[in-house]
Symmetry: C2
Subunit: 161 residues, 2 copies
């Protein structure tokens, strides 16, 4: 990796670390976005990131869970290959959607807990809940549409009329 690439990886680490994931998850995800070839073994990643194998193993589970990376194997090759495929963006934004869902659910429990209160005391929480509900429904739809359009564009570029 060039210094610039290394800095990109590190920035991804810091950023994802700052929003609740581990720094290593950010580094690994960032590295898999720019590495060549796109499929890398755990050992390659560990060396590139100067990290222990244990950290890679744990982080791989973390990222594979929500579908941010893909694990694949090859016939006659015992090693496991990791990659950050294009579909991962769907997964990533779905995870982001899960955040909104959680907030909506918390708001619902809060509304239940304040059921005895006068409406004006619950108005703020109610609005919070309504906005979360809206976002939870509409944002995935919006982004899904964008991804579909984009995929269609690229298809069209390959097979021009």
């Amino acid at each position: 990796m060039t210094p610039g690439e290394s800095q990109f990886v590190e920035e991804m680490g810091q950023f994802l670390g700052s929003i609740g994931m581990t720094p290593m998850a950010g580094r690994m995800w960032g590295y898999l976005l720019i590495c060549d070839p796109p499929d890398q073994t755990a050992a390659q990643i560990a060396e590139a990131l100067h990290a222990s194998r244990g950290a890679i193993s744990g982080t791989a589970r973390l990222l594979a869970g929500p579908g941010l990376i893909r694990r694949s194997t090859r016939p006659g090759d015992r090693r496991e290959y990791f990659s950050a495929p294009a579909e991962a963006l769907d997964s990533m934004l779905a995870s982001a959607g899960a955040i909104y869902r959680q907030m909506r659910e918390i708001a619902e429990r809060g509304l239940a807990a304040t059921a005895a209160r006068p409406p004006e005391a619950r108005a703020r929480l109610q609005e919070f809940h309504d906005v979360m509900t809206f976002v939870e429904q509409e944002v995935p739809r919006l982004v899904g549409g964008f991804l579909r359009d984009r995929a269609a564009d690229q298809q069209r570029r390959k097979e021009p009329a």
Copy 2:
């Protein structure tokens, strides 16, 4: 606070804590969403949350920065009042937008750092960048529209034709 309300506050704390904010920020924000009256002094909040005044002070700065809460004063009253007004939702979603902006910026630096690479090696990062750019632009617009419609609805309810 009833046990149910207290649990809601705690859940907000855990949740915001899990996505990069401090637990105290979540608790304070949650409490301000359901407290009565809606304006509370630092001392009242500290007592309700069983927290130190120092923690409230620091957290108040943290939340007031991105506009999640409002600080207000009253004539003849040296105390400061905090509240989580409806406008705060705008601010909150704007902050969420800031996350997408940061990711876009990081992606742009990454693209710059990999400028020498062949296009297919940069495709994943490019797509990531494009999606972030789209989300950064369109999500605030979408939510803004919802909030505007909602405000209009409530206005209409107050002044029926």
